[in-house]
Structure formats: structure tokens, C-alpha cells
């Protein structure tokens, strides 16, 4: 999907980021950011942090362009109850911000961060139930 002239251009974005290991490296950092972000942490109740961390891995795998079986409809269903709680563009932007900050912290090159953003961006309407 990337037309960059580098030698790595034959690898998928997910592979360039480092695959499952990259997701594992990112998940704790990302989830910590989300939990301490007052704009969005009310959506993440802490009753079962372990399960929720696993779901954040599903999120990251998807945003990293990794293998996933979620349809747009699945994303709508998964977030419908948050839309009822008032989920809107500002919350979506906050998640994007945390995602990009996580990747910078892991020294991921800006060019790849932009690609991750672009993938996550394609889900906006489904996540927000529009």
C-alpha cells in the first residue's frame, strides 16, 4: 500500500511496524495514556482491565494494518453503547492523539505514523455510528 522507495516497501505496514511484537510493545503505553486522559477515560471502566487491555490489542492490530476480521458493522456494534453515552468527534480525535503519541514514544518514523492514522481515520463514521 505504501509507494515509498525504500527497500522495505515490499513489506506490509504491519510488518514494517514489527507485527505482533509491536502491538505488544504499544498496548501498555497506549492503554495507560487512555486511562489517564480525562477526556475519554469515562468510556473505559476498570472492572476488568485485563480483558480491556486485550481489546486494546485488537484495536492496535487493526490500526497497524494487521490481520483482522472486524467489519464496519462490527465496529458500529462494538461502539454503539459509547455513542449512546455521547461519543463524538472530539473523543475520536483524543484517541487518535493518544495513538500517535504512543507511536512517537516508540520512535516509529512519522511516515508510518501517518499511515496508521489514515487507517484508523477510515473507521470514524462506523465508530461514531454515522
Amino acid at each position: 500500500m505504501s509507494n515509498s522507495p525504500e527497500t522495505t516497501s515490499s513489506q506490509s505496514l504491519y510488518e514494517q511496524l514489527g507485527g505482533e511484537a509491536a502491538v505488544n510493545a504499544a498496548v501498555d503505553i497506549f492503554y495507560r495514556k487512555v486511562l489517564s486522559d480525562y477526556r475519554i477515560n469515562r468510556f473505559f471502566d476498570n472492572s476488568d482491565m485485563e480483558k480491556q487491555a486485550a481489546k486494546q490489542k485488537a484495536f492496535l492490530t487493526m490500526a497497524f494494518g494487521g490481520p483482522n476480521n472486524y467489519s464496519g458493522q462490527d465496529m458500529r456494534t462494538a461502539h454503539a453503547r459509547f455513542v449512546k453515552m455521547g461519543l463524538d468527534n472530539s473523543h475520536f480525535d483524543a484517541v487518535m492523539e493518544n495513538l500517535c503519541a504512543t507511536l512517537s514514544e516508540l520512535n516509529v518514523p512519522q511516515e508510518l505514523i501517518d499511515q496508521v492514522s489514515a487507517i484508523a481515520e477510515t473507521t470514524r463514521n462506523d465508530i461514531l455510528g454515522k
Binding site: 505482533e20 505488544n24 498496548v27 501498555d28 492503554y31 495507560r32 486511562l35 489517564s36 476498570n46 472492572s47 482491565m49 485485563e50 480483558k51 487491555a53 486485550a54 481489546k55 490489542k57 485488537a58 492490530t61 490481520p67 483482522n68 476480521n69 472486524y70
Partner: protein, 328 residues
């Protein structure tokens, strides 16, 4: 081609086709298994193999304690051999064990020792469901490591008007047979990473699993520092103080702090809540293994705090002693 593996789930036996996952084949049999991502990430489809070890690839991303206990993710499990599988909370058979010792450790907490005859597998720190003759069931944590004597030790705190705990304290007699379930729970020590620092925080009889976990770690030669913080509202919830002090003299890497959180209690112990004291004494928990047992609120708060302080989610092990309301 290899033969097609046969899967047993409860009473049902069926085959798992080469092109389908175990989750697919269970759903094909109309067996209700929860699932989400179908790609081994969300862990919704967690199951356990009762006999054969599951394929390693079906265990990727699971907590090490769950891997050790043959848990796996059904959606990415392509069985290589026959397997008997169960959902995580499915109860197995109960076995019998006899009371061989009862001794007060503090005015509120009793040391109960059971001896079993049937083979029984467990890790120190796991819990069992104990069933008394009239059928009332409660969960209690195992405070000892497996050894040749075939005994299980418990620390049981008497709750005001608590049915099971008062019965244990007052009526249960030596020689009585109790039924117990298979050992459960993922809060236990797994060898490897022997230099990792360990933090253990417990309130009241929450010391029971921690005591077992510490014994396990020391027996397996854990070299990293081991910090135990045991707290209680009042003195009745503290026990094994001398034993733990002695242990800290015997093992240079074992450190012990006892604390009391109630007001106006005159004691030589540190004042404050065990979790506050513990977390204030350590700047970063990055790279630590953390065990939290006892009061559910303490466990949940500390879990979040430990995670925010840098502990990885995979390295936090908890047992919240949820108290059931009188039911069965």
C-alpha cells in the same frame, strides 16, 4: 494425512476438520462459546484443555499462569491431537479431604489444614471451592506449595455473621470430610525470570495466597527482591508476623512490612493502608511482577495504580476476595 482430531466437550464428542478452528467446530455443534475478534487477540474465546497440551500457537498472548494451566484461545486453535476441552468456569468433579488441623492465627483468622487421598494438582496461591456437608460452598486460597504430605492449608477469616467462616471457626471438627473443587485461578508463581523484583500486597487473609506464592518463589530459587506488604484495619487481621520476620532474616531478598490502617490503634506496626505504603515506597514498577490479594476494592485500586506506575498488565496477578451474599 494425519487422522482428524476428536474433540470432547462435556458429553459431546465430535471431530475438528482440518480447515476449521476449534471455535468453528464448537459453534457448528451449537455449543455456546463466547467470541469476538476470531483472530487470537481479544481473548473472549478463552478455553481450557483438560488432557492434552494445546498447540503453542493457540496460547500466544495469554498470561503465563494461564499457559501453564493449558488455557488456550479457541479461535486460533487447530488441534493436532484429540483434546477434552472446557469453558473457563466449568466445574469439574469434587474430591474429599479431611480436616487434620485447626489453629487460631489471630482472634479472627484460623489455620485450617486438610489432607487429601485422591491425586490433586495445584499451584500455591490458587483457590478451591470448599463444600460443607449441607452443600454451602465458598472459595478459599491455598497457602502452601504441593509437597509429599498431601495437605492443603487455608487461612480463613471469620466475618460477622458469615455462614461458612463461622462454621469453620466454631463447629468444624477434626476428622470431618469436606468436598473440594479442582484448584482454580491465575494468581500464582511461574518459574523463570528469576531476577525480577516481586511486589506482593495483601489485606487480612489475603496473606494466604501470598504466603504460598512466596514459599513457591523461594523454593524455586527466585533471586530478585521480594517485597511483601501485609495490612489490616486492626490487629486481629495481622498474623504470621514472627514467621515472616524470621523468613526475612533467613532470605536476604525477602522484605516484609506489616501495617495497620484503623484509627486510634496503638501498635508498633506501620500506620496506613498496605497498598498506599507499598506504592509510595516504589518509584517505578516497570519490570516488576505484582501480586494483589484480599479486599476487592484494594485489589482493583492497586491494580490500576500498579499499572499506571509502569507494571505491565501481563505481570499483574490478582485475587479479589469477593464476598458472596448468603445464597445456596
Amino acid at each position: 494425512m494425519a487422522t482428524i482430531p476428536r474433540i470432547t466437550f462435556g458429553e459431546a464428542t465430535f471431530s475438528c476438520q482440518p480447515d476449521e478452528s476449534l471455535l468453528d467446530s464448537l459453534l457448528r455443534q451449537n455449543i455456546q462459546v463466547p467470541f469476538g475478534c476470531r483472530q487470537g487477540v481479544c481473548q473472549a474465546c478463552l478455553m481450557r484443555s483438560i488432557d492434552a497440551a494445546p498447540p503453542e500457537s493457540a496460547q500466544a498472548g495469554l498470561k503465563d499462569t494461564l499457559q501453564t494451566q493449558n488455557f488456550f484461545l479457541a479461535c486460533v486453535c487447530h488441534p493436532e491431537q484429540d483434546m477434552t476441552v472446557a469453558l473457563p468456569n466449568q466445574q469439574g468433579a469434587f474430591i474429599e479431604a479431611n480436616v487434620i488441623k485447626k489453629q487460631l492465627l489471630s482472634p479472627d483468622i484460623i489455620h485450617l489444614v486438610l489432607e487429601y487421598q485422591t491425586p490433586f494438582n495445584f499451584f500455591a496461591g490458587q483457590f478451591v471451592n470448599l463444600k460443607r456437608p449441607d452443600g454451602l460452598i465458598r472459595s478459599y486460597s491455598i497457602a502452601n506449595i504441593p509437597h509429599a504430605k498431601n495437605v492443603l492449608e487455608f487461612h480463613i477469616r471469620r466475618l460477622p455473621k458469615g455462614q461458612f467462616s463461622n462454621w469453620v471457626h466454631e463447629e468444624l471438627k477434626l476428622g470431618t470430610a469436606l468436598s473440594l473443587s479442582a484448584a482454580q485461578g491465575a494468581c500464582h508463581y511461574v518459574p523463570g525470570r528469576a531476577t525480577q523484583p516481586l511486589l506482593l500486597i495483601g489485606t487480612g487473609s489475603g496473606l494466604a495466597p501470598l504466603y504460598g506464592i512466596i514459599a513457591d518463589a523461594l523454593t524455586q530459587g527466585h533471586q530478585g527482591p521480594i517485597h511483601l506488604f501485609h495490612g489490616s484495619r486492626d490487629l486481629n487481621g495481622l498474623y504470621f508476623i514472627d514467621e515472616l520476620r524470621e523468613l526475612s532474616e533467613k532470605f536476604n531478598n525477602f522484605h516484609y512490612v506489616a501495617s495497620i490502617s484503623g484509627d486510634n490503634i496503638d501498635s508498633k506496626h506501620v500506620k496506613g493502608r498496605a497498598n498506599d505504603i507499598a506504592l509510595a515506597s516504589i518509584d517505578s514498577l516497570s519490570g516488576w511482577r505484582v501480586f494483589l490479594c484480599g479486599h476487592p476494592e484494594m485489589v482493583n485500586q492497586s491494580k490500576k495504580m500498579a499499572f499506571m506506575k509502569g507494571a505491565s498488565m501481563a505481570d499483574i496477578y490478582t485475587d479479589a476476595f469477593h464476598v458472596l451474599q448468603a445464597d445456596s
